[in-house]
Amino acid sequence: MTLAPSVREAMLAAVPSLRAFAISLSGNVDRADDLVQETLLRAMANINSFQPGTNMSAWLFTILRNLFRSEYRKRRREVEDTDGSYAESLKSHPEQQSRVEFEEFREALAKLPPDQREALILVGASGFSYEEAAAICECAVGTIKSRVNRARTRLADLLAIDSADDFGPDQPTRAILSAGGRG
């Protein structure tokens, strides 16, 4: 018997977000796609343990996250891959500016401790609640919250190191900031 179409659809529907999560975690498209592939393999092998009606996306994220963690432990001594393979693989952007921004952002993200990075991405980008993120990371909700906070603070710090004016110089924000600064 093949997968129920709904399960299959749910799995495929989760792939784009799963890839984004994997790339955000690893900073490398090839590694990320391998992680996604391994995740799908595991998921299919254990599809009976998935309860229909529950959150497929969260289930897959949990698998991917665990795979990444065990891989990370193995590779801990290797240098993080920040050679720009992500940037190279990016499709062309409508705005040149966002490309620079993303590259800086990717580098900053790579400097966060994995705990903080995954918490920030799950909550700040993947759209999970603190509770869901806590379940995925197998920790307390409060822990997720503090990791997210620390990640944000750290990122802001890291990104301000390079000329902050280069980082997304959108005029309205600057206007607000400059007005606020003088006030």
């Binding site: 495929l12 299919m44 993303f102 301000a160 902050a164 003088r182």
Partner: protein
Amino acid sequence: MKEKKPSEAELAGEEQARMGSEENQNGARRSGPSLLRPAPVDQNPLRSEATMHMEAQPRRSRGRLNREVMNRLGKTLEAYYDDVRKEGVPDRFKLLLEQLEERKDKGSSG
């Protein structure tokens, strides 16, 4: 000495004081307002990687972060993430699922 973590309120107070005083002092020599940090004053902008990895930096410009900074950061994170998400499902994963299903077919029904 700086390593002792000040309370949230202390930080917020420091932050406000800094935003008032340093922004004015540095307004003249800075070409524009810093987007992510109100006033990076004596922080060396060319800090080495090693320094950046250190957790216990002087927490000068941290503390309560500017709401604008957080909004901006959040939007960048979302944009960064969506950039990948928009690529959709690469063919290799569609094929993979098909293959896995076929394999499962043979395995379970045979």
